[in-house]
């Protein structure tokens, strides 16, 4: 299958190419492309671009402080990078006017812990969901009686609204809930350091694997049966077929799924907030960056904007690394793989 990236009008035999008209077509193409992309960009600019820009601007302002005379809040002034220093270096303002390390109990002291927790959740859930999702996609791809029901069943976890799912798992994982009843244990799922983390991983994997399975399935649909047949004729084992035929061909869909799953996992909020409240261990074993942002919003919006911006940059760097080094062909053609194999 050849899907050329660039359409060269001159290559089409019947048309007599003239330099000038080739350029005109190119310009026309650019205009059409502009029209087609404009709605997307405009919508994203309004709903997401505007809040991001205003967050960045606000992150350089101090939060309102208390005027000791009147007891009322007054505008904080320009803050420079102090909000960022608060989060990245745990610098808290002291009453004397200087800065000191933020004590436990102040949100600033939790930044690096939250970063670790967020990355831990992301890595574990994405790996688990990719593997399980792949397995489910293969099953859904096969022909057997009742596969419609299997496909519907697979989507049930994801169809239940997150808020309900979180409450359900909170209920299941409570000390006298069904999980402990069935395992015959007394695990404190919502307050043990690692038990709470695994509770969230289990709940999240249960909920989101269908998302991966669905996207991988769509990718599997594009692989024609003959490819497998030809590989079998050539004597490839099942594993070889998977590794050298299926995987490369499903890679575009897989990479998109994994990339977006990573972005979502880095911003996870609902599940840990309702399931454990960010608690566990010494109190913050499951606090993710988004939970920290929400807590900070209650205490001071400008500082929260700085934290949101930092989170944004962290996610940007992760996505950049992923696209650059691992999933470089996220939206590029797979012609190289297809030409090379078999």
């Amino acid at each position: 299958m050849s899907a050329p990236e660039i359409v060269e009008p001159a290559a089409r035999a019947p048309k007599p190419p003239v330099r000038a008209s080739a350029k005109k077509v190119k310009r026309g193409e650019r205009r059409v492309a502009l029209y087609l992309i404009a709605p997307t960009i405009v919508l994203l600019a309004i709903v997401i671009g505007y809040p991001v820009v205003s967050a960045i601007i606000m992150s350089f302002q101090k939060d309102a402080g208390l005027d000791s005379a009147t007891g009322m809040f007054v505008q904080g002034g320009f803050a420079g990078f102090s909000n960022y220093a608060h989060w990245l270096f745990q610098q808290c303002a002291t009453t004397g006017g200087g800065t000191a390390a933020c004590p436990p109990g102040n949100l600033g002291s939790q930044f690096w812990n939250a970063t670790f927790v967020t990355f831990f959740f992301t890595v574990v859930t994405v790996v688990l969901e990719t593997v399980l999702g792949m397995w489910m996609a293969f099953i859904m791809n096969r022909t057997f009686k009742g596969r419609g029901l299997v496909r519907a069943a697979i989507l049930v976890p994801w169809a239940i609204p997150t808020a309900v799912t979180a409450k359900l798992w909170f209920f299941i994982f409570s000390v006298s809930g069904i999980a402990n009843a069935m395992l015959n244990t007394q695990i404190l799922w919502t307050s043990d350091e690692w038990a709470s983390r695994f509770a969230i991983i289990i709940a999240d994997t249960w909920k989101t694997t269908p998302f991966m399975a669905l996207l991988i399935l769509a990718g599997l649909q594009l692989i024609p049966e003959e490819v497998y047949e030809a590989a079998k004729v050539d004597g490839a084992t099942t594993f070889q077929r998977f590794w050298r035929v299926t995987l490369p061909l499903v890679k575009p869909a897989l990479m998109v799924a994994v990339l977006f799953r990573i972005l979502d996992a880095l911003r996870i909020y609902d599940l840990p907030a309702i399931l454990t409240g960010g608690g566990g261990g010494t109190g913050n074993a499951t606090t993710t960056l988004s939970i920290l942002v929400v807590d900070q919003i209650r205490q001071g919006f400008n500082s929260a904007s700085a934290l949101s911006t930092i989170t944004f940059l962290i996610i940007f760097i992760v996505a950049f690394i992923f696209v650059r080094f691992l999933g470089a062909n996220v939206v590029r053609t797979q012609e190289s793989q297809q030409k090379g194999k078999l």
């Binding site: 029209y35 087609l36 109990g105 209650r298 205490q299």
Partner: protein, 422 residues
């Protein structure tokens, strides 16, 4: 391509609308004009579980056809109620006239200038109310809200194991031997890492004679031996197993469930448990429990004050009506209705001594003692940061990963950073 052109037009339309809206001015007025006018208002409250608000509003609307009240009901979650109010106040929304604020938010909203001070023509008569409730509505010497419901902690205890309730903490701890012999957990409160933990820790510290912050509501006073005594009581009880290990995950409901299943001898919880423990199908303690004030140190213990206040928004356009509605919420009839219909705790002192009500609602008398001896949580405009400081550090202490001294010191430091606005 026609479709492409349409989409461009659509995109431009969206942008155009957005810009027109933005340049068209803010959504609400500053509220300084028309303070005295009367007219329809909106009352904002969290979920009306016991269905008391709607009948009251119907009654008001019948009597005031030109000044009708619309009920805007928020979600049941306290944090969400808080955030919803903040969003609307920040947007200077004149659509919220009278708001129901939890006692811990009053200082914060007052300091941000969102609540109308109740002075001058909005002065309220507080003589008939329970004193501690008025303190929660006062910030910096000025009253900003009108108490409408209250709540205090009660000690629920098993009458089959203990004919009389313990009067002091030490007594209760020695009673734990009896509880253990009967195969029942001893004591639990709310110890998960949320607002309930602040309530329980404040109770422990205040009962022991200490305080969390000083009179100014800002300076932490946790360096005292009394504060240490208070927090150590909880930490030691966890260590000795007098508080069961799983109580570290308890919010109100989990404690109630354990008590109703017969797994606890003593439970510290709000008044709502009383009716449910008596009527729930699964409750095995229906006829085997009673209530008492929290154990103290020579006198009833210092429970933490809960409850809600009604406040008038600075941005309201019909403040005179709002003021009358607030007075209506505090009127004797309404307060009695709160008790009879909703089993809520009123702020009107006389109701607690009413014989007929006491006959029907057995918890009223004990609840009055509890509220009269209640201490409010720190009245601070930085309350979210203060409660976080308390929660994080006391949770670590209860878990045993931080010593009591360190926990109290860190709590102090963190409360101080809250005050300096960082």
């Amino acid at each position: 391509m026609k479709a492409a052109r349409l989409s461009v037009i659509a995109g431009i339309a969206v942008v155009g609308l957005a810009l027109a809206g933005c340049s068209g001015g803010s959504g609400g007025s500053s509220g300084s004009s028309g303070d005295d006018s009367r007219g329809p208002i909106t009352y904002v409250q969290g979920k009306d579980n016991s269905n008391v608000v709607r009948p009251l509003i119907d009654k008001w609307n019948k009597a005031h056809p030109k000044e009708k009240v619309t009920f805007k009901e928020q979600s049941d979650n306290a944090d969400q109620q808080h955030d919803d109010l903040v969003q609307h106040f920040q947007a200077k929304d004149s659509g919220y006239d009278v708001v129901d604020v939890d006692v811990i938010w009053t200082a914060e909203f007052a300091a941000k200038g969102w609540l109308q001070p109740l002075t001058g023509k909005y002065k309220m008569d507080n003589s008939k109310l329970l004193k501690p409730t008025v303190a929660t509505a006062t910030y910096n010497g000025t009253q900003y809200a009108a108490p409408q419901t209250s709540d205090g902690g009660l000690l629920y205890y098993r009458t089959d194991l203990f004919p009389t309730p313990p009067k002091t903490w030490d007594e209760m701890m020695s009673d734990c031997a009896t509880a253990k012999a009967a195969g029942v957990g001893c004591y639990a409160g709310q110890f998960a890492k949320y607002e309930g933990l602040t309530v329980n820790v404040s109770e422990a510290i205040n009962t022991a004679g200490g305080s969390v912050v000083g009179k100014d509501g800002k300076t932490p006073t946790l360096g005292t031996p009394e504060a240490k005594k208070g927090l150590s009581r909880l930490v030691d009880a966890f260590k000795d197993g007098n508080i069961p290990a799983e109580a570290i995950t308890y919010q109100e409901e989990q404690g109630r469930q354990a008590f109703e299943a017969g797994k606890l001898a003593f439970l510290n919880n709000w008044a709502y448990v009383y009716n449910l423990a008596k009527t729930d199908g699964s409750s095995v303690v229906k006829d085997k429990f009673a209530i008492a004030p929290l154990p103290g140190d020579g006198g009833p213990g210092a429970s933490t004050l809960g409850g809600h206040n009604a406040a008038i928004s600075t941005y309201s356009k019909h403040k005179a009506t709002a003021f009358d509605f607030v007075k209506f919420l505090q009127s004797a009839e309404t307060q009695k209705f709160f008790v009879t219909q909703g089993s809520l705790s009123p702020v009107l002192a006389s109701l607690y001594d009413d014989a007929a009500l006491n006959a029907k609602f057995g918890y009223l008398k004990t609840l009055k003692t509890s509220i009269e001896n209640a201490v409010p949580r720190p009245v601070s405009p930085f309350y979210p940061a203060v409660t976080k400081a308390i929660q994080d550090n006391s949770y670590a202490a209860l878990k045993g990963s931080m010593s009591v001294d360190d926990a109290l010191k860190n709590m102090s430091d963190a409360i101080k950073t809250a005050g300096s606005g960082s």
